[in-house]
């Protein structure tokens, strides 16, 4: 697993090197392209800003009042059997419904335990390998006019559960 962490340091620099290098070889206006994309990135973040403010305040209230602690204490009995930190359970559940709400919870975990703690790292990995199941299904099937979704939900849940289990296993190895 040491090797995987080592490799992580190389992925982003190599990607930059490859893309910019190829761009120059192909005589593309790389800097202009970059600026154009960066502008779009700006728009995206400004777009999610109000959502994030609203949700971070709500999660902040939940934590300050002690409700989050209450929930994770209640779940502790079940999750300790699987060596899974109960603090992350709400994150996994909320992620199925709303990505920005899950983000607020993730940041709350970072604040409380630190991003480099076991909980911080495991929740980072879980966040990056799961998707908003219900939101995605609602949007896509609404577009297609589909009412009966057959085995889609089962498959999505199986894939998500696999992601959570495998993350926990890999983190145990590190």
């Amino acid at each position: 697993m040491k090797f995987v962490v080592y490799l992580s340091d190389y992925i982003i620099p190599l990607l930059f090197f490859y893309i910019i290098g190829m761009g120059i070889l192909m005589k593309r206006p790389v800097y202009d392209d970059f600026i154009k994309g960066a502008k779009e990135g700006f728009q995206v973040v400004l777009g999610i800003m109000p959502t994030l403010i609203g949700l971070m305040v709500a999660i902040g209230i939940l934590r300050a009042s002690g409700v989050l602690l209450l929930i994770s204490n209640a779940l502790d009995g079940v999750t300790s059997v699987f060596h899974f930190p109960s603090e992350i359970v709400p994150l996994v559940i909320i992620k199925m419904f709303s990505s920005s709400a899950a983000t607020s919870l993730l940041l709350d975990l970072f604040k409380e335990f630190g991003p480099d703690s076991y909980i911080g790292r495991l929740s980072s990995i879980i966040m990056s390998c799961t998707e908003t199941i219900f939101y995605t299904m609602a949007v896509y099937y609404m577009t297609a006019g589909v009412k009966k979704t057959r085995y889609t939900l089962a498959g999505a849940l199986v894939a998500t559960l696999a992601g959570v289990i495998i993350s926990t296993l890999f983190m145990g190895l590190m």
């Binding site: 995987v4 992580s8 340091d9 992925i11 982003i12 893309i19 910019i20 192909m26 593309r28 392209d33 994309g37 990135g41 700006f42 973040v45 800003m49 994030l52 403010i53 609203g54 971070m56 305040v57 209230i61 300050a64 009042s65 002690g66 409700v67 209450l70 419904f97 709303s98 709400a101 983000t103 993730l106 940041l107 991003p115 480099d116 980072s124 990995i125 966040m127 990056s128 390998c129 998707e131 299904m137 949007v139 896509y140 099937y141 297609a144 589909v146 009412k147 009966k148 979704t149 057959r150 889609t152 089962a154 498959g155 999505a156 894939a159 998500t160 696999a162 992601g163 495998i166 993350s167």
Partner: protein, 196 residues
């Protein structure tokens, strides 16, 4: 839905806090959380703009088109019911590549186009086709290779090495997608068997 969830979080928090005497903590948190969200977005502006800028360069060198073409043989295996040269292959491939590269903004519109085409192939039935199920399961299993936003959040909260989760998260994403694909293939086979 989100209306109720949001209101519920705030109301439950304040009611519970009133009983446990946490009102002063709640009022400080309310203001500081809002401030924090803005600080975070400023950090995100840098990382997201950097990433999307790089991806625009990648599109300029034809990386998206190239990867889309490479995905074709795989699509034939995953979606056997789609006619070979149908435009929907293009849409599905672009959606997957955009997801892999972490371009959520480019993935959704083309994904919805794919879904509309799949609906026509399905004669606009209200019952999802096997191809639709496979497409969504793979989409939901998360294809994103580099979780740019997670790395940004980690650095904002003082991580020593924000991207050190990258290797593991790629491995896990790969595994969970594989499970999703396996599930879709098995479910497709089972659902084609006569029911009696």
């Amino acid at each position: 839905m989100i209306n109720y969830l949001w209101a519920f979080m705030i109301i439950i928090g304040i009611v519970y806090g009133a009983f446990t005497g946490k009102m002063s903590a709640i009022s400080t948190t309310t203001i500081s959380s809002a401030k924090e969200a803005v600080t975070l977005c400023i950090a995100m502006l840098g990382v997201m703009s950097l990433w999307m800028g790089l991806m625009e360069v990648a599109r300029g060198i034809g990386l998206m088109d190239q990867l889309t073409r490479r995905l074709r043989p795989l699509l034939k295996v995953l979606f056997p019911d789609i006619p070979k040269d149908h435009i929907v292959n293009e849409y599905i491939a672009s959606n997957m590549i955009a997801n892999i590269l972490g371009l959520g903004w480019a993935a959704t519109p083309v994904g919805l186009k794919a879904m509309k085409e799949l609906a026509t192939l399905n004669k606009n039935s209200k019952l999802a086709s096997c191809d639709m199920c496979t497409f969504l399961i793979i989409n939901i299993s998360s294809l994103q290779l580099i979780p740019v936003n997670i790395i940004a959040y980690r650095s904002q909260y003082g991580s020593m090495n924000p991207s050190d989760i990258l290797g593991v998260s790629i491995l896990v994403t790969f595994c969970s997608t594989l499970v999703g694909v396996a599930f879709s293939i098995i479910a497709r086979k089972l659902s084609k068997k006569p029911k009696y």
